[in-house]
Symmetry: C2
Subunit: 366 residues, 2 copies
């Protein structure tokens, strides 16, 4: 059933989206403040379930593109996402009936809510990544045949660009990335125009609700002095993600971080607090591989979250520092993200890893 988001929902969603960001995706803070401001000035964010969509509705994915750290210095004006949407509508010759998040992890959990608030369009509860991923073509929309093109992009100066690469979504990413760099490292996009029927077929449903659930669970665990990880595992059981578990409890012993081709790449070493073998977490914006003594413990597209061992609050790739006590927490992905077609687009080898994917729940706990 359709419902409206409250300010409390936004707070929980910000926490949950940071968990789903798996180290990347950026801090939802700036986005949350903009949506809160919109709510405070009388705007509303109405959420539609995927199955409430008309099959012939026009749905457009909405997101920020670029380096989330840039957003902290180059603050958005606020209407960039709306202007990208309007630019895409112009290109399509049709108005959108709803927006859908491109990515439920990190800052991009908030960007489509702002567009929904400012335009009055409903936002669909679902997305194309089911977590955070670094590139535009890494979306279930594209995996199952929706074209990222045409894509419209706006910046804070009122500039607009449209990219149309037919069915080649990697080319959309390539050109859009180039434009984003020239827009100062962050831009706002409207992409993957599709029908309601396409959304039902290709979206990961319910990820907005999932984000809020994760956030609420961690908040309530903190209030009730409960173990946040146990609470999280219990909460996830009733979602399409199903399996969540602690992979490792450690103390950050080493961090290697470098900016390569516009990505934050590197690895963190967690020392076992009980004196066992170390865990190594490899990241490429997001955490993509966790190993202990060379054995794979969790691997992309399954989620590898580094959470504060005390509070369960997420720690990003950028923020992870020597000495922090963090718990590596794994979350399995829903079936739609685990098909051969999906793994060809965002499986381990798409991140340069020389491993095949093995489902989290089949990997031995440490």
């Amino acid at each position: 059933m359709a419902y409206e988001l409250t300010v409390e929902d936004l707070r929980d969603l910000a926490t949950g989206a940071a968990v789903l960001g798996t180290g990347g995706g950026g801090d939802p803070l700036v986005g949350r403040l903009l949506v809160q401001q919109a709510l405070a000035t009388g705007h509303r964010v109405r959420v539609l379930e995927v199955d409430e969509l008309d099959d012939d509705a026009v749905v457009v994915a909405s997101a920020m593109m670029g380096a989330p750290t840039v957003v902290l210095e180059k603050l958005p004006r606020g209407d960039e996402g709306v202007r990208a949407l309007r630019g895409l509508e112009e290109q399509l010759g049709r108005r959108a009936d709803a927006v859908i998040p491109m990515e439920c992890g990190g800052l991009n959990s908030m960007v489509p809510l702002l567009v929904a608030a400012l335009t009055g369009l409903p936002v669909v509860d679902g997305d194309g990544m089911g977590r955070a991923f670094p590139e535009l073509q890494m979306e279930t929309f594209g995996v199952y045949g929706v074209s990222a093109s045409p894509l419209a992009m706006a910046d804070e100066h009122g500039h607009l660009a449209v990219v149309d690469t037919g069915t080649d979504n990697a080319a959309t990413e390539w050109f859009a990335r180039g434009l984003t760099i020239r827009m100062g490292g962050a831009s706002y996009i409207a992409e993957y125009p599709m029908s309601g029927a396409d959304v039902k077929r290709t979206a990961i449903a319910g990820t907005l609700r999932l984000g809020m659930l994760i956030g609420r669970t961690l908040r309530e665990a903190a209030t009730g002095h409960a173990d946040p990880f146990d609470a999280l595992t219990r909460a996830l059981r009733a979602t399409p993600y199903q399996h969540g578990r602690v992979l490792f409890r450690g103390k950050v012993a080493d961090v290697e971080r470098r900016i390569t081709d516009g990505f934050t790449a590197g690895r963190a070493v967690l020392a076992d607090v009980e004196g066992g073998a170390d865990m190594e977490v490899v990241f490429r914006n997001e955490n993509v591989l966790a190993t202990v003594a060379g054995e794979v413990v969790a691997i992309v597209p399954d989620l590898i979250c580094l959470l504060d061992s005390e509070t369960g609050m997420p720690v990003t790739t950028d923020a992870v520092r020597y000495g922090m006590r963090v718990t590596a927490y794994g979350i399995s992905t829903p079936a739609i993200m685990r098909t051969p077609e999906a793994l060809a687009v965002f499986g381990p080898r798409c991140f340069g890893l020389d491993h095949d994917w093995v489902p989290l729940e089949q990997l031995a706990p440490v």
Copy 2:
């Protein structure tokens, strides 16, 4: 009066356009061959004088963007310019009535002719640069108030991009350059959509005819064993460019050439064959400054052409080599390129030169 171009016209134009390229703009060869092929297969290129345009005609500037040397390796498919035009028409919601060259110097003298041949649209005899310049905003169209935006861009893979930066033509250049780099270094664009009345007000008229005149003059001088420079000076007198003269006869004693920010920058030193002081020619893709013993002899936007001392054939910035006997030949620019507004967009300081512009005809001959 409107007329049709012949294969002979194309040959002369290729030579003349290389002269007007002032060292840059690229070799018209590939473009000429494509237009010749179009003529051979029954297409026609109809030329309209600027004053024959209806005031409310829709006119679109057509060009290749990027490094002309790339075109020699990454050959165009041939229809890129047409697809850029169609993409822009889609954006405008109107069909074009004519195309106009963006730049009459170098390879871009040919690109709009190919678009005209393939679409059946007339090409307007005029352009926005009156020579070759390295950047999109360096056009009289923009100097006198026409927006470069929306600009449409196509590559040989069928990809299309549209850039709309409102009235900020430097931003159009910035984003279009980024896209061109990601298209492999060369793209085909349709830009500066304008009315026939805009063309009459802002274009440099007659530059296609001028290119053909220069080419024919050099060809006839070669055939008749006449001095090509005297012939050129006589021929230019009856054109809006008026003044042309030999600046220096020399032998290339030194060339410094480096690729900086996507431009070929550097200088050539010409030793005086009669033992006087050397000439230094500074280039930034195009030749932009000629000095002798520190005294300015010619400066952008006036044309500084290095021509083979024997034949008068143009020598490009890329091709100039130690030991070549070249004649530096200066050509003054028409009044529309010499206003304060024009000099603010393509005067000496826009090329990083610490000189004010002085008209060629006011500078003392060496």
